[in-house]
């Protein structure tokens, strides 16, 4: 399809701006001499352009999207309706706090709800997504150690099964990353952890359930070992959908964590979101939180104040506000009973699919899983050169978004499936049948598997070329 820059004609547009009634002023700063080359298209062209783009993608509104670790659950329309209320949309971030009391009440209320769900005591909504939340949380850990003269605590411990963002965030926050190996169940090896901690330990980053979909049975012991060494424990909230309302990171011994509202709390995920990655923490870290702290006064009004030892802002203004409104709507819709029900259904759906696929596909770990499970195509790869990638590409032709591939790194030829709670039993049954059909085809016609997909707008992409010689912008070249 054409890029929007290649469409339209000079002078064409889709808005009529009334003549300017304010006198022109010349601004004495360096200005560009020529107008930028922007698309000039009619509303018809514009509308068709976006519809074309939408047709080329696969979203949760198109079909099953079991992308492990990403929690691609359905985004309820009521969330959008709430976020479009004029009281939320017709505001400006620099408005006086007395004019936006309703918005502050939403921010304050969701902070409380997230603290209740996570077992934490304070929260910032500023971080724009998960990795941003990790970075913010690590800066809190650093600020706390520094406030106690602990600047030699320079190391963050990360298991080898971790999400790649964990070591990346730790490096960004200027920590040294210490990798520890997992045990044979994919959980934290306690002996390796004990050997890794010391007086240079700033903290541990962990997701629980872990990236192979198992709840770490030693979690209380793990956080105790880190605390005894003087470090703090960071919970990566990416897998919170397995446990929300059932168990709480704060009760497991974690000190600080992020939540992905775009995963667990049903706000749009992918395609630019935008995301939202609030950070929740225990009381002793609250004085370092970024942004403005919202307080409810005795007369019922809300005020904003900077925390005493704030690390500063991690983005401008309060949050991705309308995303936060959507997540708050979701929490209120589910309520105290619905939140654990969502998680237990997510776990049930994952186990249902895993049991139907086991015996055909090889499971990486032979355990009851949490909200996701990992299969390995290693045997198929060796026996008939059919890889996890080939299976994933074949699924595309059946209207299923492929599972996460080649992650976690500790499982070879991995496919990681997370069905979420918002899929019906019929959808799961259909998906299982497709997975089995694709596997059967890979036995009958292994060579054909390298050709998939046939039906998609683009087939196999040149991933290597895209990484080695990326073309990331349109070059305007008038004839």
């Amino acid at each position: 399809m054409k890029l929007i820059f290649e469409m339209g004609a000079p002078g064409r547009g889709c808005d009529l701006i009334p003549p300017c009634t304010t006198p022109e002023v010349t601004v004495k700063v360096p200005m560009r001499k020529k107008a930028p080359h922007l698309p000039e298209v009619s509303e018809t062209e514009l509308s068709r352009h976006y519809t074309d783009l939408a047709k080329q993608t696969h979203g949760v509104n198109d079909g099953f999207y079991p992308l492990g670790s990403c929690t691609m659950k359905y985004n309820p329309k009521i969330n959008d309706a709430a976020s479009l209320l004029p009281g939320f949309t017709n505001i400006h971030p620099l408005q006086d706090t007395k004019d936006i009391q309703g918005c502050l009440e939403v921010l304050s209320s969701i902070e409380k709800a997230l603290c209740e769900i996570t077992g934490m005591q304070a929260c910032t909504l500023q971080p724009a997504a998960g990795a941003h939340g990790e970075f913010t949380g690590l800066l809190l850990i650093k600020a706390w150690h520094n406030s106690r003269g602990g600047s030699k605590r320079t190391k963050i411990i990360v298991p080898d099964s971790a999400h790649g963002t964990n070591p990346a965030s730790a490096a960004m926050a200027d920590f040294d990353v210490v990798n520890i190996a997992s045990d044979e169940h994919g959980c934290v090896d306690l002996e390796a952890l004990k050997a890794a901690v010391g007086d240079d330990t700033a903290g541990l980053m962990l997701t629980n359930p872990n990236t192979v979909g198992l709840f770490d049975p030693n979690i209380a012991e793990i956080t105790r070992i880190v605390h005894e060494a003087g470090g703090l424990c960071y919970y990566d909230g990416a897998n919170l959908n397995a446990v929300m309302g059932v168990t709480r990171p704060g009760d497991m011994g974690f000190d600080v964590m992020h939540l992905n509202l775009h995963k667990t709390f049903s706000t749009p995920h992918g395609g630019g979101g935008p995301g939202s990655g609030p950070v929740a923490c225990k009381d002793f870290l609250a004085p370092f939180l970024p942004g403005l702290r919202i307080d409810k006064q005795t007369d019922g009004t809300f005020t904003e104040e900077t925390a005493a030892h704030t690390i500063g802002n991690v983005r401008s203004f309060s949050s991705n506000f309308l995303v936060v409104v959507r997540a708050f709507c979701y929490i209120l819709t589910l309520g105290r009973e619905g939140i654990p029900e969502a998680s237990t259904t997510a776990v049930l759906n994952a186990n249902y699919m895993m049991h139907k696929l086991a015996g055909h596909y090889k499971m990486a770990y032979d355990h009851t899983c949490m909200h996701e499970f990992v299969m390995t195509l290693e045997q198929e790869k060796h026996e008939r050169n059919v890889s996890a990638l080939d299976i994933a590409k074949a699924l595309l032709d059946h209207g299923i978004h492929p599972p996460t591939m080649y992650f976690p790194l500790i499982v070879h030829e991995a496919l990681m499936i997370e069905p979420t709670e918002t899929e019906s039993r019929e959808t799961l049954d259909e998906a299982v049948q497709i997975f089995l059909d694709v596997l059967a085809e890979s036995e009958a016609h292994p060579e054909k598997m390298h050709e998939y997909p046939f039906e998609t707008p683009v087939r196999r992409l040149d991933e290597v070329g895209a990484a080695r010689k990326p073309v990331v912008r349109y070059l305007y070249n008038p004839e």
Partner: protein, 127 residues
């Protein structure tokens, strides 16, 4: 899979060759095959020191970033700059596409022969 007998190998899939008082280090055929098409290579700089068993740099494929472990301790005296623009050379000819040359070698990892390394790779791919 190719395992030249003139080279020595580390269990973390680097090959080592002695050449005029220097040690030449590269990635094995098995390593490049497991990694898949490489898109970036990060190498140390000349005069940097490398330590046996610790990362000397990393390679990135479309799947993942992986550390390259140094089989020896010493001082980097030459790097293969061509790889920085053409990481695919490692995929095409892993035993020609050397990564770095190290001098003043003080220590080395346990290095194994081609036959031992072949057995090691077979056990890894069956594991």
């Amino acid at each position: 899979m190719n395992y030249p007998e003139t080279l020595r190998y580390s269990k973390s899939h680097e090959w080592v060759k002695n050449e005029e008082g220097m040690v030449v280090i590269g990635l094995t055929d098995f390593a490049q095959s497991e990694l898949g098409d490489l898109v970036f290579v990060n190498l140390p700089e000349v005069d940097d020191t490398v330590t046996a068993g610790e990362a000397l740099g990393d390679v990135e494929s479309v799947k993942a970033v992986s550390d390259i472990f140094s089989p020896v301790s010493g001082t980097v005296c030459e790097i293969n700059e061509e790889l920085l623009d053409h990481p695919e050379l490692i995929n095409e000819a892993p035993y020609d596409a050397w990564l770095i040359k190290v001098k003043d070698v003080t220590d080395e990892e346990e290095l194994i022969t081609a036959a031992e390394y072949e057995t090691h790779c077979q056990s890894e791919s069956n594991g």
